[in-house]
């Protein structure tokens, strides 16, 4: 009786290069939103170290949701190690842009980003992650539900709440600007 044939492992569906190319910016932005700019690089690097090790297991995983889960765990551990969570973002200008910025206007985009970050900082963590994933990164409710392990209706409910909060946030600032 001969030895059993070697088990052939299926090739991983995701190559590291592909994950880098397609998702690096996304992971870095999520890390930045979770832990701030100063720590975003570290969290991103740790996330991709895990991606590299886990690649052979990632056959049918919806990658963006899975990446978010990893990034969140890495961020949490990093924050716990440092014990303090600080974001030293610059204060946005007193008057917000009155309409969405032109994408060719880099300065306007940066101002809009700072306003969005200021708003996101006012949210609870659950609404924050939902708003970031749903509206800023464009994940579907199902993807988010899988990533954070909650039912889809819960994600939809949180998304509605976060969106209402964003609209209220902007309206309030518009009103403040118009006030004499």
């Amino acid at each position: 009786m001969g030895s059993p044939p070697p088990r052939r492992m299926p090739a991983p569906p995701h190559a590291l290069e592909d994950v880098f190319r397609e998702h690096f910016d996304y992971v870095w932005r999520v890390a930045r939103m979770l832990v701030g700019e100063a720590m975003a690089d570290d969290v991103t690097q740790e996330t991709f170290l895990i991606v590299r090790r886990r690649l052979p297991e990632l056959h049918a995983v919806e990658l963006r949701g899975w990446l978010y889960g990893v990034t969140r765990n890495v961020a949490r551990n990093d924050l716990r190690r440092r014990r303090r969570y600080r974001r030293a973002i610059a204060r946005p200008p007193d008057s917000p842009p009155t309409r969405p910025p032109d994408l060719d206007d880099a300065l306007a985009c940066r101002e809009a980003a700072r306003w969005l970050e200021t708003f996101v900082d006012t949210l609870s963590f659950k609404l924050k992650e939902t708003f970031v994933l749903r509206y800023l990164e464009g994940l579907t409710a199902r993807e988010i539900a899988e990533a954070i392990d909650v039912p889809v209706p819960t994600v939809e409910s949180r998304a509605r709440l976060a969106r209402r909060a964003f609209e209220a946030f902007m309206s309030e600032r518009y009103a403040r600007e118009e006030r004499p």
Partner: protein
């Protein structure tokens, strides 16, 4: 705000928040080189860390024994006045969450109420096994607490004459230092500022109720209890 408008904001955010090419290259290189680097670096690091910890613990233990015996000997001889280790720390307490859920006007409620939740949520997330960071820490500076204190002191100084200005400073503190160890101090000052602001006095009373319900045994409770009913010049909290 319609979907297109929100997507336009999101697109602007994604344009503005892109990692630099240099960052990307550095991280990609580090991840590719991780396997060989890990084998050569982590074990000696762990060994060194254990050695340092062991020596440190042993030294601390010996020092504690030595000072303990020395102190008891001195106490027997002279019985000196024990030094106070916490001179002003009664006013600097750990953070609270959800203080003003009922009482504060929206601009303050949003900021003060929500941010601590982020850490709470992060703390209860499931554990994962992740490698230690390989890059040096870039956040955290010894001046941060000083900055926090300065901001709170400025807010306190404005309590008497400019409660709205004090509230603005406290809001700024909450957004800049959402997980501050001085959060309870901040929340107490918010209640006082609301109570001193004629426009927000009713909100101040509700905030006071919430504060006392959650932190009735804190060092501030007595002062907060009388806050909204006291004459303006009798309310005082010292950061």
């Amino acid at each position: 705000m319609n979907d297109d408008e929100l997507e336009a904001w999101a697109a602007a955010y994604r344009v503005a928040r892109k990692p630099s090419a240099q960052t990307r290259r550095a991280i990609e290189r580090a991840v590719r080189d991780e396997r060989s680097a890990r084998a050569s670096r982590t074990r000696p690091r762990h060994a060194l860390r254990w050695a340092v910890c062991s020596v440190g613990l042993l030294a601390a233990l010996l020092a504690g024994l030595f000072w303990g015996s020395l102190a008891s000997e001195r106490a027997q001889r002279t019985a000196p006045e024990p030094p106070s280790l916490t001179p002003d720390l009664n006013d600097l307490a750990p953070p609270v969450e959800g203080l003003l859920a009922e009482g504060t006007p929206r601009p303050h409620t949003d900021v003060l109420d929500a941010s601590p939740g982020a850490s709470a949520a992060l703390d209860v997330a499931p554990a994962s096994t992740t490698p230690r960071p390989r890059r040096t820490a870039k956040s955290g500076s010894p001046g941060d607490v000083t900055d926090e204190m300065r901001l709170l002191r400025q807010a306190q100084q404005r309590l008497r004459d400019d409660p709205p200005g004090a509230l603005e400073l406290l809001r700024r503190h909450a957004s800049t230092f959402p997980h501050s160890p001085l959060a309870l101090e901040r929340e107490a000052l918010v209640v006082l500022a609301l109570c001193r602001s004629h426009a927000h006095r009713e909100a101040g009373r509700r905030a006071r109720t919430t504060f006392l319900r959650q932190h009735g045994d804190s060092a501030y409770a007595a002062r907060i209890r009388d806050a909204c009913d006291a004459p303006d010049d009798t309310v005082m909290v010292s950061p």
